[in-house]
Amino acid sequence: MRRCTECAVRIEGNWSRCPLCGSHLVGHPSPDPLPSVPLRFSRRRLLRILTVISLVLVALSFVVQLWLGHRPSEFGAVRSVWLGVCTMWLVALMALRGRRDLARSTLTLLVLAALVCTYWDYLTGWHRWSLTFAVPIMCGCAIIALVILEHVMRLEVGEHALYSALTVLLGIVPILFLLLGWVTTPVPSAICVVLALLSLALLQLERAADVRDELAKKLHV
């Protein structure tokens, strides 16, 4: 074992200089009991900063749209493309973040996409294509996807059941669009609501206890 005469201590490992004072050591090196771990710089922190910056930029650019005029004549191709790019970016970020939990990320994506579509529709003169087509179709697809996922992948109950339940509940919302006459044709909303009610019945049969259990856990005071 090596020795630092300045500090009067033995030094384990293959240090050529004393790790405490930097003086030269005497004696023979011993095997290092600790590994030398190479430096690793955290890419995660950089990624987190970039994510936050891009989210802020997207939110700002969405707000700016409100001041740029709402009529279809004022809503040019550039703005459409810009909104499209922003939306894709948001969707990609959310999908990346939630890739470990399918039901939860499905729900987030659904809410996000529904809000953006409605806003887009509003900006371009409120033709109600969002509420008539986009939102019910997306809800319906999400419900079908979750039902399939659940039966194919045999996911563990728990959080998954909770988020599926929330998605299904969201699928019933288009009934409001129908009742309040916000749609130009009732077919998509009607289909979506029927799908949601059917899967709610299925869920009630299979998973009600799990959902209650999970809710109790999440909301435990």
Binding site: M1, C4, C7, A8, V9, R10, I11, E12, G13, N14, W15, S16, C18, P19, L20, C21, P31, P33, L34, P35, S36, V37, P38, L39, R40, F41, S42, R45, R100, D101, E156, V157, G158, E159, A209, D210, D213, K217, K218, L219, H220, V221
Partner: protein
Amino acid sequence: MTRRTWVRLDNASNIFLAARTESDTKVFRLSAEMDAEVDPGMLQEALDAVFARYPLYRAVLRRGVFWYYLQDSDLRPVVEPERRPTCAAIYQDGRRTLLFRVIHHRRRISLEVFHALSDGTGAMWFLSDLLVEYARRRYPAGATDESGRPGEQGDPSASLAADDAASPDTPDAAAEGAAPPSHALETDSFAHYFRRRRPTAFQEAFAEAAAPAALTLAEKAVRAEASADGDTAGASRTPSDADPDRPSRRARIHRVRGTRTPDGRTRAVELTMPASQLLAASKASGASPTMYLTALFMDAVRESSGGLGGARTMSASVPVNLRQFFPSTSARNFFATIRVEHAFSPDGAEAPEEVARALEAEFRPQASAAALAPKVARFIRVERSPLLRIVPRPLKDLILGWLNAASNRKLSLAVSNLGRLRLPEPAASHVRRVLFQVSAARPQFCAISHGDQMTVTFTSPFTQTGHVRAFARSLSARGIDVSVTAARVTEAELEEVAP
């Protein structure tokens, strides 16, 4: 599919989630250095055997609206070679991973634990059992003791008894010989009870093992109160229930600054010394080993900082294992911290021995059941306060984070002494020394001893080792035989060994 057992995370553990940062991961490490290279296959077998007996260690951390909670899982731990810096992060938001890891390098077996799961004492039980299982497999000749069943390796109080329970400050883990109740489970309980639809005995064991120590204690206290009308309530209003932070003295607390390590890892330097030599030196000074080491530490910081400058008061936080005062078998966090401080005179003429005596006089009255009872009572009161319950979890994290930062500003150092680890055979004769270290927000040391080997591991977020040098030199100047192990952290240090 089973419905998972879960237990809400208590406040003592919550603080570790709120206070965790990229460089201070709130992970601690207990290592044992064996007398020969570690065999990973046998270590894995040993881990499997021990894991089945510790339901708490199956837990993953999940987030609810109001609380974090620990939930039972099917995950199995896998031993891995040491590839990360010491005390690397274990829990990452939202990821369901086990809250501990077992790693090995050359002769060392290390157990790293996220502090929200367990405290040093709880982890000592686990490591001790792991070492016994490993030694049984590695040295089969020694595995012929009477009670051959691994689930019941003798009397835990004999295996982990504290050496000098006389000194109240060494929070010797197992002073009370308390072991997790899961010890009593049959070895095959994992296979036997697991994956049943009804709440199984295993799930019940998990819930029991994962219950916060303070609360299980509180329930006991309530029961005792009912039978012995208000004895505990009386105890919690002793005159010593003064504000522990003593805001009376408005001295400026010295805070150690330095250069952060390049990738935020913890800088760890281990000093190994004969326990007998250190005990003799501390006895001669008239202070307990912990306070003696703390005094040397404060003096070392004073010296390496070039005389402290304007802020001449140094304070240290010292965790005290509550199990020695309030018997509890929980492996969860169950400690209180005591704060001691010392104002150095401008001429710097005090010997560390004098400082040690002064610290001892400050520490000893605080480290008693009567003085700590109000603290425990306060923990429990806060835990159960209806106002706190309805605060959403992210907000709780924020508040706890602020509180923690505020108390950090009043601390220069932290020290922790786990006392003596008494390993049962066949582990004891094959373990050369044990080590203990914690990720650090400030210079800190953790001490533990085994046989006659005492290790004091300094950790710090900074690259500077001036205080360790001063500490090591003052030990060697007192005739104590010190050997130093350091991990390389700076670019220059790592370049030396780069292939």
